[in-house]
């Protein structure tokens, strides 16, 4: 590699900013990429798995789009969809927790920040959990912890390969310590899955931070990360405030984690299903 490229290489780390919520935009409408500022046709973006064709920035996708992307047609059946959050702390901040919840439900059409279920991926039977950042920042409270735990228990019992697509700001503050303990609960149940020899592949998507990263997200046999995702434990703002300096470019991106040995590979969204399928061929046959 010529010396000039050493300097050039740094350029691939771009600061990623979470895309703002987009309303339904008709085909033909132009939108601006949050990362490169390029103008993209909505239809073109959808056909490209909501990845910017110019800079490969991966826009967030809804959990159901993700499920459709990963599972064989009509193979997915949801589990535990009736679980909903209580307000054990009677938590009131600027907004009350029940208000947060009802707004999140309205905005996303979901009941909680994770959908779990069973389906097929290239004919492999899988247990699948998909988190949705749109629902209170994909935060893990009792329901997320319980649904993930039940899915892991089911996968362990039935020896079904487990896939979890993560996207979360961490533990849900509004449920206090009950949320923090979900980290221990989900981790403990994964120990049983590993003991039973069941494969677990985790997919880290933009953004995955906090208590989810420090529990089930990183306890997989193989960890994949979508391109350019923000992944870490502490959020970049908190780190900057603590160390009182600017963070280096590309810090806590998927590529940074790959370089530091924290993920196995960085995968483009269009290759995700094929990559998982191949891994399952190795582990399950």
């Amino acid at each position: 590699m010529p010396i000039s490229e050493w300097f050039h290489r740094k350029e691939k780390y771009t600061r990623v900013t979470p895309p703002s919520e987009k309303k339904e935009i008709p085909e033909g409408t132009c939108i601006k990429c949050d990362a490169c500022g390029g103008v993209i046709f909505q239809g073109e973006l959808e056909r490209n798995y909501r990845v910017c064709p110019k800079c490969d920035f991966h826009f967030r996708i809804s959990s159901w789009d993700r499920i459709n992307l990963l599972t064989d047609e009509n193979s997915f059946s949801e589990l535990d969809s009736n679980l909903t959050s209580e307000d054990p702390l009677n938590f009131v901040a600027a907004k009350s927790y029940p208000e947060n919840l009802s707004q999140a439900k309205e905005k996303t059409g979901l009941r909680e920040a994770v959908i779990t279920g069973e389906g097929r991926l290239d004919d492999h039977k899988i247990a699948l959990a998909v988190m949705d950042f749109g629902f209170i920042g994909g935060s893990m409270g009792s329901v997320v912890g319980e649904k993930v735990t039940r899915l892991v228990e089911r996968a362990t019992k039935e020896k079904t390969s487990l896939i979890i697509v993560c996207s979360s700001g961490g533990a849900r503050m509004q449920e206090g310590m009950l949320s923090l303990m979900q980290m221990a609960k989900t981790s403990a149940t994964l120990a049983k899955l590993h003991e039973a020899g069941v494969p677990y592949i985790s997919v880290l998507t933009h953004p995955t931070t906090g208590g989810v990263t420090a529990s089930f997200a990183t306890l997989a046999d193989v960890i994949l990360a979508e391109k350019n995702a923000l992944i870490g434990f502490a959020g970049p703002r908190v780190i900057e405030q603590t160390i009182k300096q600017k963070l280096p470019k590309g810090f806590q991106t998927s590529e940074f984690l790959l370089e530091h040995g924290m993920v196995d590979m960085v995968v483009h969204r269009k290759d995700l299903k094929a990559t998982i399928s191949k891994l399952l061929d190795f582990f399950v046959g």
Partner: protein
């Protein structure tokens, strides 16, 4: 009383009375007559106020007591409760993290492995120990020692006292999320009893990384929280001066967490906080450790692991209407 001591906001009225008492006592020593009555009155008032302030601390005031610079550290309790402690160092991967203290010791005649967050006694030691905020190598040292304990059939005693994991560049580069997650997974599997005592600050994931146990106790003024009150205030109120409200909302005190069955018991502290009488506090801790290990020692190891899992498995609060 030493007037150069660290004063928490809510103690100010008390300190004012105490300094007035000090002045009067000086006058009496200098030979001023007729103030004995006033001194006696003031002493009574101080005692009353002391009782009043400390018997009804708000959650935010408890957080301040838990963070008091004179509060006994893990090393203090190690000295007061155990004998023959030998400190072990290093994670065998990167370095030794002084924010975690650990090694074998005797609890009466029982061999145990101690692992705890270690804060400093003064600024210099606090800087060296990173204020009790571990880096990934700290969690990995803790795990290494716990694995030793598992191998040699020694019960594990964890002391929790950390503001939280350290938000820094190196910590992220070396995978602190992976290190914490690893502890959570492994601690669920050890076949020896694990007892955790939160002696001060239970800050989020950094605390939980030593907190998966068969029995979890808290000192009466300790706190245990998913996020610091300041962090919560800045996110949910966009104003860190709302920390007091956040501390209230987060239900982070020992009594609340006992109600939620996150912890198994509360260990009494002397009025004013553990630092007013470390001996008394350590006796309380020693008693629950001995009682818990006595009880857990009777379990066969597979039942111990199963019960530990069941303890975690039931944590959560949700609604599940029949579809």
């Amino acid at each position: 009383m030493n007037m150069a001591r660290y004063v928490m906001d809510f103690e100010r009225p008390l300190v004012k009375l105490e300094s007035r008492l000090g002045e009067l006592k000086k006058l009496r020593a200098a030979g001023q007559p007729d103030i004995a009555e006033e001194i006696e009155y003031l002493e009574k008032q101080i005692k009353k106020l002391h009782q009043k302030i400390y018997s009804s601390l708000t959650p935010w005031q408890k957080v301040q007591v838990a963070r008091h610079p004179d509060r006994p550290r893990t090393s203090d309790y190690v000295g007061l409760i155990f004998t023959d402690f030998v400190e072990f160092h290093g994670d065998r991967l990167f370095k030794d993290d002084p924010a975690i203290l650990g090694g074998p010791a005797f609890l009466d005649h029982r061999r145990v492995m101690i692992v705890g967050h270690q804060k400093g006694k003064d600024t210099k030691e606090n800087v060296a120990r990173n204020f009790g905020m571990p880096h990934p190598e700290g969690y990995r040292k803790a795990l290494r020692l716990m694995k030793l304990a598992d191998k040699f059939d020694m019960p594990i005693i964890c002391f929790i006292d950390t503001p939280g994991a350290y938000p820094g560049i190196g910590a992220e580069e070396r995978g602190q999320a992976v290190a914490i997650a690893g502890n959570l997974l492994e601690m669920g599997q050890f076949s020896v009893p694990i007892v955790a005592v939160n002696i001060g600050e239970g800050g989020s994931g950094g605390a939980l990384a030593l907190g998966v146990a068969d029995r979890v106790f808290m000192l009466a003024n300790a706190y245990y929280s998913v996020i610091s009150p300041e962090g919560c205030a800045s996110i949910l109120w966009r104003d860190d001066s709302k920390a007091s409200e956040a501390a209230e909302a987060l239900c982070l005190t020992a009594d609340k967490l006992l109600d939620f069955e996150i912890i198994d018991g509360i260990i009494e502290e002397p009025l004013g906080g553990a630092h007013h009488d470390p001996d008394f506090t350590s006796q309380g801790i020693k008693k629950v450790l001995i009682d818990s290990l006595g009880e857990l020692g009777a379990y066969p190891s597979d039942k111990l692991v199963e019960e530990r899992y069941r303890r975690l498995r039931k944590i959560g609060c949700f609604r599940e209407p029949t579809p």
